[in-house]
Symmetry: C2
Subunit: 114 residues, 2 copies
């Protein structure tokens, strides 16, 4: 698997799609984002994550989980709850969070995976 | 709805999550990406899209559709098929494409949407 990609298994599994617009200034964001990235990956049921943020401050992070219960546990993680509070108060001018069940997946360019 | 976000309705609907690693050089990518972005939005059943690509060339684009049939029609669109071919041959060192059914959605920081 190439760097930056989550090595997810055959579907079905879940995706948490978090699209966010950063406001100006760091305000502790980078350090917390790095900590949350590492913490998410240690979370039971986490299959990996992918993230990208452009120069305009719009970013998309997709975290993959085995099931809904794992997503619920991650949402309620104490350190993550703190990060969510900072996100609402300081970091994001807007965000959209969508929970979706992955039904099919392909990879390339070497060929279809599924 | 803030710039850069898709104004999606209440779930359920579908998300096509496309994570890709760009190779070096433009090779016609930017012009085609812009054309495909516009074409996708004109596609019947397309609810909008969100995209971000970091300085490392890793990008995530999520396009939202009302149903599976609309995704199938977009996949088979003639201009899109050409773009897919260029993507495999020239632009992407790796990509992952996942089709997922959005079950729940929230927005913020002003509050939960659903």
């Amino acid at each position: 698997m190439a760097d930056g990609f989550a090595a997810t298994p055959e579907p079905p599994y879940y995706a948490v799609i978090f699209t966010s617009q950063r406001g100006p200034g760091d305000q502790g964001y980078e350090a917390m984002a790095k900590a949350m990235w590492e913490l998410a990956h240690q979370q039971p049921g986490c299959l990996g994550a992918e993230t990208a943020r452009g120069a305009d401050g719009l970013g998309i992070t997709v975290a993959y989980f085995t099931d809904e219960a794992s997503i619920g546990a991650w949402k309620q993680n104490g350190q993550h709850l703190s990060a969510q509070r900072f996100g609402k108060e300081r970091w994001y001018s807007h965000y959209e969070l969508r929970v979706a069940k992955v039904e099919r997946a392909y990879s390339g360019p070497e060929g279809r995976r599924g």
